[in-house]
Symmetry: C2
Subunit: 333 residues, 2 copies
């Protein structure tokens, strides 16, 4: 049968655009013995994928040219040659950007679509996004009741959770985001204590100082750049700074220049930790339990930006860099 | 009796010079009941004092205008009204920059001048300098045998010790310093594996990559600026970066610009820790024991730059910023 897939047509220099991607129609073989034919239904596009479009060596290998991009997806079983899965079952896995996928059961995680939340939530709160927010904030951030937590990209996939988890821990929370709609959402729907629109703020550092005269104890950074410069000017002694993302910097071919802040890190005896959820794999069980519990208790809300259509995958990905998403960016195929 | 002291005449903007200091002759009263009259013999000048000349709020308060600068010193008892100390005893304490000091015994630590090393070593290896190197490197750096440690300001007070302790821990050690004499010292006297003269290097980053193709696991930074930029380009996954000093940046009134490196910190899941020896006070006992043991075993060598003359204190301090010192900068009064 015919199958559409999206391959890396060229490596971007600077900001990627749709010429870096190409939709191809290829022929899909019949699933073999022990194999499963899956129809991909929801697919996660994530900022880290920008690195893999370049050939920078990091924790995950660059995508190959003319080969399909891959990432986290949710799929339904169409045809199963395995006793472990039957038609209609939902599974999660690392899939190519393709409509149909053939996979072995050992590369798939069966998911329960009857727990009372939309199934695509396995791509965010009940998956890496949730683990990233929970493990990063609690293990590296060590938030204590009464402390002040600032999160950048606060209306993004991870940021929405970080703010809510910090509130559950009894912290004062300020979120930074880039539209008034997002600011309203943070303050009115998600109970952040304070919020700053970095695009309209005349002086982010001064606004932080005014809104948080007590200073900043924990900074959960998804964005980097000038937002982070402003935060460094307002950190407290022994501040914990967590580098989860630097989306403002991913499209630079060489480092942007900015004010040196290591003297402040020294004077404030602060700690900066670059981290990936994968380093907390041993905590995922605990994280999943806590997150599920908080959802069921009504303490944790969530939202997604769902883009529809297989051919919209590249646009959804590119939209991450212009802040098009509130909450997790997901493509529905 | 008359006593000379050095006061803060004005707060420097940018690079301090001798106009920021003033020598005054004041009258010293007789020591009262329980008080000690001390003659200060050796005095420590340290980079952190630069902060205290400005009115930046950090862990230690700014020096007051027209009041004496103060710091760590070694003194001998001239006259004692206390049963705990007698004439000729050596003590360590926080003293004003003055020839004579009157103090209470509870502000003094008696030191043993018969342990086989010069008494001024209590201002470096057997004091905060030693504790800084030992506690910072071992507790935050967690060096493992076979790992690669880079230290900037390698021929400076702390750097000389960091390199040697890293060698004791079985690491491969590269030191960065600013004169050929210092480079020779590191390679030939202190058994560093590699050394780079940052002032004559055409490309520090490239030289690091050539000398350390295995990459850098621990970076102990005393200097900051372009040296540190070059190191960030060569760090390994899970690198530990310790910010002990940023002497290249202390005279800047506003932050210098430099390449943003948080994206690298993220990709390499590195950790940056600004630290002060004082946060390891609970480890000082252990540190003192280890350092003394290594000295007696011949595993740890040391050197000082000793400047003579009370009126030379400001010049000795200013010399820290031009790399005039090898090992600890000490003034002999």
């Amino acid at each position: 049968m015919d199958n559409r897939q999206i391959v890396l047509a060229s490596r971007p220099t600077g900001v990627p655009d749709d010429t870096n991607f190409r939709i191809e129609t290829v022929s899909l073989p019949e699933p073999g013995n022990g194999q499963i034919l899956l129809a991909q239904k929801y697919l996660s596009v994530d900022p880290y994928m920008r690195w893999r479009l370049s050939d920078f060596k990091s924790y995950s290998a660059p995508y190959d040219l003319d080969e399909p991009i891959s990432g986290l997806g949710l799929a339904q079983v169409v045809e199963s040659n395995s006793p472990h899965l039957k038609k209609g079952d939902w599974v999660k896995g690392l899939f190519p950007w393709a409509e149909y996928v053939i996979a072995h059961t050992d590369a798939l995680t069966k998911i329960d679509d009857k727990i009372g939340v939309p199934v695509y939530r396995y791509l965010d709160v009940l998956g890496f996004v949730g683990y990233t927010a929970y493990c990063g904030l609690t293990t590296l951030g060590k938030p204590k009741p009464g402390e002040t937590v600032v999160v950048s990209g606060a209306a993004g996939a991870v940021g929405l959770l970080v703010g809510q988890i910090a509130k559950i821990y009894g912290c004062n929370v300020l979120g930074i985001a880039g539209t008034n709609e997002k600011i309203n959402l943070l303050l009115n729907e998600y109970d952040f204590d304070e919020a700053i629109n970095y695009k309209t703020s005349e002086n982010i550092s001064q606004e932080l100082a005014e809104k948080l005269p007590q200073g900043i104890d924990v900074y959960f950074d998804n964005v980097g750049g000038e937002i982070t410069d402003a935060v460094f000017e307002n950190i407290n002694t022994n501040a914990r700074i967590l580098i989860c993302g630097q989306i403002s910097q991913y499209n630079d071919d060489k480092p942007e220049m900015g004010p040196r802040f290591l003297p402040v890190v020294l004077k404030k005896t602060a700690t900066i930790s670059g981290f990936l959820a994968s380093q907390f794999a041993h905590q995922f069980g605990e994280a999943g339990k806590k997150l599920t519990q908080w959802i069921l208790e009504g303490k944790l809300k969530y939202t997604e930006t769902i883009v529809e259509g297989f051919d919209q995958i590249p646009n959804a990905f590119l939209g991450l860099f212009s802040g098009r998403n509130t909450g997790k960016m997901i493509v529905k195929i």
